[in-house]
C-alpha cells in the first residue's frame, strides 16, 4: 500500500517569506515522489519529482523539494513566496515502476501581500 500525509490544511505566508509545504509518505519499495499544483479553475500541473539521484530536486516556478529517506519526507519549498503561488498543492507517491499515484489531501497555500 502507498499513502501520503500532508498534515496541514492551509499554509499562510507573507509575500517574500520562505514557503514550506510538508509531506510524508509510506510505500513498499523505492518511492517515486511528486508535487502537483492546482490553481483556481485550472487543472493539475506538474511541479517536480524525485525518482533517484540528488535528494534536492528543483522544479517549476522556483520550487524545490528535498527527499529525506530516514524521515520519509518530501517537503516542498520556495525561498521567496509570491502572491501568484496561492494555490492548492498536492504531494503524491508511487511505488517503483508504477504510474498509479496516491495523492495527499492537499494543502491550500495563501500568500499574503
Amino acid at each position: 500500500a502507498q499513502s501520503v500525509a500532508q498534515p496541514e490544511d492551509q499554509v499562510n505566508v507573507a509575500e517574500g517569506n520562505p514557503l514550506t509545504v510538508k509531506c510524508t509518505y509510506s510505500v513498499s519499495g523505492n518511492p517515486y515522489l511528486f508535487w502537483y499544483v492546482q490553481y483556481p479553475n485550472r487543472g493539475l500541473q506538474f511541479l517536480l519529482k524525485y525518482i533517484t539521484g540528488d535528494n534536492l530536486v528543483k522544479g517549476s516556478y522556483g520550487f524545490e523539494a528535498e527527499f529525506n529517506k530516514s524521515q520519509t519526507s518530501f517537503h516542498l519549498k520556495k525561498p521567496s513566496a509570491l502572491v501568484s503561488d496561492s494555490a492548492l498543492y498536492f504531494c503524491a507517491v508511487s511505488a517503483y515502476g508504477n504510474n498509479r499515484l496516491a495523492f495527499g489531501k492537499g494543502n491550500q497555500v495563501v500568500v499574503i501581500p
Binding site: G43, L101, K105
Partner: protein
Amino acid sequence: SAVISQKPSRDICQRGTSLTIQCQVDSQVTMMFWYRQQPGQSLTLIATANQGSEATYESGFVIDKFPISRPNLTFSTLTVSNMSPEDSSIYLCSVGQGRLGVDEKLFFGSGTQLSVL
C-alpha cells in the same frame, strides 16, 4: 508534454442517469488513468484504462458503475452509471509519459465537474 482535451467540462445530471466523459490526447500514450476529486478532498484513482483490454479498477470501484473504454492509444471514455448525488465530483483524465523509472510523469486534463441532482 501531452495536451489532454476532456469533455464535457461540466454537467448537471439527474439521479439515475448516466454520463460519459471523453478524454482525447494529442499523442499516443501507453498509460491512461481516471481520477476522482470529491469536494474538499484529494484525488483518488478510479482505474487504469488499458488499450485493447478491460480496465484495471482500484479498490472500491467496479466496472458496472464506472465502465471505461480505451479503443486506441489516444482516446478513452469513462461512464458514470446510474448516478446519485454522491457521484458529484470532478473527474480527471490523466496520462503518463516518459520512461518508466527514469523520467515518467503524469499530465492531467482540466477535469469534468459533475453535479447530480
